[in-house]
Subunit: 221 residues, 2 copies
DNA sequence: CCCGAACCGTAACGTACGGTACGGTAGACG
DNA sequence: CGTCTACCGTACCGTACGTTACGGTTCGGG
């Protein structure tokens, strides 16, 4: 054999051609004009349905691969481990918050979460679990080291990093995600995201800061 | 004519028999064993499909009526307007928080929200808007008067009641709703809800309290 | 040049389900 | 008792869609 771009069953990386197919799925999902059907995917990706089934097994496999593909593209940068003072912590938290708000308010994330929520109802194929693992839990695992480093540096106080993170999560997201998932028109402009990120960070410092919150950046409410 | 329990098109109250049908829908939704199909509803409610269509128009009408029916049953009591001191405010907030956590972690709410989220994707029939109006926005409109009364009494400080409420919403719900919607196993016991409600209220006071937070109740973290 | 693998495009199949039609029954009313 | 209304149960229809099958094309290897 020359090469075998066969089934993508495991968590392999997709081939370039397979990525094109997954991008087509995302495009259809975001457009949302009509329901995501295998025929539509095949037409959009200029491939045959037979190929779809050969590569991804079935419709759920295609959706799962799409979620993983999307998740692999939004890996946000980590924080700078060096020189962790109050200002650096604050900036890292704001970056995390702004990045998270960007993700959950993106049309792609909304569409994918809607599919996953719908799937969680029927129980089959752990799509919801995958979305959670790559969203809520992934960001938690990336943020907790920062929180713990900050605690070690005496910048903040908490008992459980998990609890501190969940509070931060709530302060950042508030009602944004559920409103967007339920179809509420909610403008999340760049400026709005920046303001929300700054506010959430400021409130987080107010709750967990060891002493005073670091100096506010310009444009605070 | 004797009586005409015809179409329930507007926001009328359902007849007792119609309520039975809507309860059947909720039961099927909560069980979640299989997709909610008109045939299944008819069988479960011991009524004919023809009657379903006569009463509710179509499947969306049935779902809409079900959401309204469920919402009409969870109207939580308002707060006591008299004697608004710090302790009363604190207790009201905790009650709101605990009630809200109860609602969003109930199997009924989860199932209904999943349906509404799925529907928001396809765009037709404003199910998501109805859920939002009876959930997120209804509680906001009921809580904001309390917040404003508390501000008038000098117990808390804020500029916009909406912003203060959204912060409270985030502190209470955190990641609970999205995790439940995505199928995460998340035990929300009575004790856990009470603890979360107390924590969220305490944090809210820390952020918006005029002076010191009122005395903590027993069992604080 | 020939062969087979991979793939495209499309037709076909089976089923699930929303929606409709129809026959049968129980009770209200004259 | 006759009739009408509301309703139940069920058969039926049309369509959408997941899945499979098949013919045709391209391309790399022998």
């Amino acid at each position: 054999m020359t090469q075998a771009p066969q089934t993508i069953e495991p968590s392999d990386e997709p081939t370039p051609r397979q990525s094109e197919v997954l991008d087509a799925v995302l495009a259809l999902l975001v457009e949302g004009r009509d329901a995501l059907t295998m025929t539509a995917v095949a037409r959009r990706a200029s491939c045959s349905k037979e190929t779809l089934y050969k590569w991804f097994g079935d419709r759920d496999g295609l959706l799962t691969a799409t979620v993983r593909w999307q998740a692999s593209q939004v890996r946000a940068g980590n924080f700078d481990r060096q020189r962790l003072d109050a200002a650096a912590l604050r900036e890292s938290l704001e970056r995390f918050a702004a990045n998270w708000l960007h993700v959950i308010s993106s049309r792609t994330s909304i569409a994918l979460n809607r599919v996953a929520v719908g799937h969680a109802a029927s129980g089959k194929s752990n799509l919801g679990g995958i979305v959670l693992a790559n969203g809520r839990f992934a960001i938690g695992e990336r943020l907790k080291p920062l929180l713990e480093a900050a605690r070690a540096a005496g910048l903040i106080h908490f008992d459980e990093a998990e609890e501190a993170f969940r509070t931060f999560f709530g302060l950042v997201g508030r009602d944004v995600q559920i409103r967007l998932l339920l179809g509420d028109r909610l403008e999340m402009t760049e400026a709005e995201i920046a303001r929300d990120a700054a506010r959430a960070t400021r409130q987080f410092f107010a709750l967990y800061g060891a002493k005073e919150a670091p100096a506010l950046t310009a444009g605070q409410v």
